[in-house]
């Protein structure tokens, strides 16, 4: 009966060994020059913030550049004295656009890294898995990189803020364009889902505008799952829309799936009008995906050319825009390996807003002062072309978009004025006539 004895010994070894290696150490804080360690993740000299990003996986093409671009802007700010003497330290972890992984990585950031705030956590299905947790821990959850309406829920998620126009606002304006320009065509949908708020919120917005206008709408949307297996099924979904005689495909999709959808349609000799959400329509990203990233390889002009989308940031190719030149010069110094595309512009612009918020949160920011800083911000300066909606009762960011189309040369061109609205079904769409702001001297938000 020796094995019995040796087994209980192994048990003892397992228990003692386990106890010994699990011990971890905590760390203290310092203070100087009027700066104190005023909150978790804030010391006299640093502010640590965290994020979960799809650095690998099905949403990585394009989106993996966003956090490095934001980090480049933070490095630029840090090199120019930081914010109130504190340098921003930005830790972004890979969640592969996998909600399970988001949940564990976010707890790592909150419990182990002990971040002051979450910033720009990317993705609708992914961030939904942690939004309750972050709010129960009162971690400021700033500027989620997703346009889900769910971030504007001040009673349930008082510490969460959106940033980009939400998908319903965007969908309403896209829908209005369809009513004005493609009223005689059959409209169908290609959406992330089913049961994914990204696709569902966009569909809701478009339907708000299409309702009662007498358009011929295909009532069953085609859905894709953002996984490798889901990528295989896109061709069949597009063929289904073709079989239904759909002439306008409204697509709320991440770039990889927009690219596969447009390529699948071309492969079927099917040439519908694509109307694609901003997050899935960046031309440099789509070109890189469709050419496999090989330099100098030319994309057939008609493949993504003619696609209709929208923007809330200055056009990438607008060399006269001071924001574009500012971000390009920061990119050249602090992240030279990144391409110049919509993801990089997004990352820089969102980082700018974060620095605005951190400045407004005071000399010694707390988690509560950070949240109220955004709620009472009333910022009028920033890279965006529409105002922000931020208030104590509204946690939406940008309030509208300007319609754009991808030209045959692969660059974006604007179509019509900047339009703003809210995310209610009946909220009117109005033209915004405010003048765009210019960056402050030095490119860092002033106080």
């Amino acid at each position: 009966m020796r094995p019995e004895i040796s087994r209980s010994r192994t048990w003892a070894v397992a228990a003692v060994g386990g106890a010994a290696v699990l011990l971890t150490a905590a760390c203290g804080s310092t203070s100087s020059t009027g700066n104190s360690a005023s909150a978790p993740g804030v010391t006299a000299t640093t502010v640590t913030i965290g994020s979960t990003q799809p650095l690998t996986g099905p949403a990585a093409p394009g989106y993996s550049e966003i956090a490095p671009a934001s980090n480049a802007y933070f490095k630029y700010v840090n090199a120019h004295g930081g914010v109130n003497g504190r340098k921003i330290s930005y830790t972004y972890l890979d969640d592969q656009y996998n909600p399970t992984s988001t949940a564990t990585q976010t707890r790592k950031l909150v419990l182990q890294t002990q971040v002051f705030a979450m910033f720009q956590a990317l993705g609708t299905p992914t961030h939904l898995s942690v939004v309750s947790y972050l709010n129960s821990e009162h971690v400021p959850d700033l500027f989620v990189a997703s346009g889900c309406n769910c971030w504007n829920n001040t009673s349930q998620y008082p510490d969460t803020f959106g940033w980009q126009p939400n998908y319903t606002i965007e969908g309403k304006i896209l829908g209005q364009y369809i009513v004005q320009n493609f009223a005689s065509k059959k409209v169908g949908f290609f959406l992330q889902g089913p049961n994914d708020e990204f696709g569902a919120d966009g569909l809701m917005g478009v339907n708000d505008s299409l309702q009662g206008k007498g358009l011929n709408v295909d009532s069953t949307p085609a859905y894709y799952t953002p996984t490798a297996a889901g990528a295989m099924a896109v061709g069949a979904a597009i063929a289904g829309l073709q079989a239904q005689g759909v002439q306008v495909i409204v697509s709320f999709s991440v770039p990889l799936f927009t690219a596969i959808a447009e390529a699948s349609a071309a492969g079927l000799n099917y040439h519908p009008q694509f109307v694609v959400s901003n997050v899935g329509s960046d031309p440099p990203t789509l070109s890189t995906i469709l050419t496999g990233g090989s330099l100098g390889k030319k994309l057939p002009a008609g493949l993504i050319g003619g696609t209709i989308s929208d923007t809330y940031l200055p056009l990438l190719t607008d060399a006269a825009n001071p924001w574009v030149t500012l971000f390009q010069s920061i990119k050249a110094t602090y992240a030279p390996s990144l391409p110049w595309d919509g993801n990089v512009e997004y990352g820089m612009a969102e980082a700018y807003t974060f620095v605005q918020a951190l400045k407004a949160a005071g000399q010694n920011p707390t988690r509560a002062s950070m949240v109220s800083a955004v709620e009472s911000s009333h910022w009028t300066d920033g890279p965006g072309i529409t105002p922000y909606a931020y208030s104590s009762s509204n946690h939406n960011g940008y309030t509208g978009v300007q319609m754009v189309t991808i030209g045959l040369d692969g660059t974006l061109k604007t179509l019509g004025p900047v339009e703003i609205t809210d995310d209610t079904p009946t909220g009117a769409i109005t033209t915004f006539s405010g003048t765009p702001s210019t960056p402050p001297t030095g490119g860092i938000p002033s106080d």
Binding site: P3, W11, A14, R107
Partner: protein, 354 residues
Amino acid sequence: MSTVFRRSTLVRHGLVFLGLAVVLLVLTSFVFDSFTNYNVTEVAIYAISAAGLTVLTGINGQVSLGHGALMMIGAYTTSVLLTRHPGLPLILMLVASIATTGIAGAIVGLAGARLRGPYLAGATLALAVALPQVPSHFASVFGGNQGLSVAASTPPAFLGSSFAPEQWLAWITLAAALVTFFVLANLVRSATGQRFRMVRDNEVAARLSGVDVARTQVLAFVVSAACAGLAGSLFAYWVSVTSPSGFTLNLSLSLLTAIVIGGLGSLSGAVLGSFILVYLPVWTGGLASSLNLSTNVANNVPLAIYGIVLIGAILVFPRGVAGGVASIVRGVTRVLRSSRGTGPLPAAPEAPSQ
């Protein structure tokens, strides 16, 4: 005679587990920070599932590449129930998940009892690949790819409002793990456990001795699946969201890895293997970032070290870490005893107990 011995096994196990419970209670309450408690919970969840798998694979000789899918059944049972009836107590969720997964295990076991070796591996592999597709097709029930969110189990009020939820979940999970291991440790030493091993070692001999091979195999599958169901339910609470992305083939293979590294057929090996599975990436990740490597290299260092440890463990400890530790302890004791002049002991049998 045999009843006396069995009673003493029960008493001995009872004392060991009571001792472990006290140690873990002290550690989780006074020594560990929240993140450590969070990781310990993960270890315990893996350990519960791996223990079930080691009973099936190590002790009964049936291989399963589908235990991740069984965990998924447990997790979805909890999540669907909680979505429909929020506020139901956690213990009910655990029991319901054990029940549904146990039934699923019986069905898989019935099919599995007709299959041997690679065919059984193939059938369970199919389960691991196919089941995660189901939620996308019945999205209204299972929440599609986005999944169902799972409300955290709040600590009872008498523990105070500042009681960390991570500590509460660690308590629940470790308690569940201790109960599971107590039951399994007694099961594998019982007559049923003996039959499990007989079927593994020689089916014909087992049949000749009056053992119903198929029934024994199905029973092993049910026991194993029930453990996976319990682990899955706790997993749902731990992650706070149940989506197909949590139950990839990778999970099933990780569980198999854990029991092989830990020591096939040994319950303590399942704990050691789960521990390695959770903590190796944590340590190697820290190592990689402290070495100042380029991101492309640093991202892959943990995976490379994991592979090396896997190969190394199999080469150095063919009977797993638990087996290796046991032989080292035996060797040391032998040397100590002989140096004390008590004379060499007869060599211990190396083979698993018959």
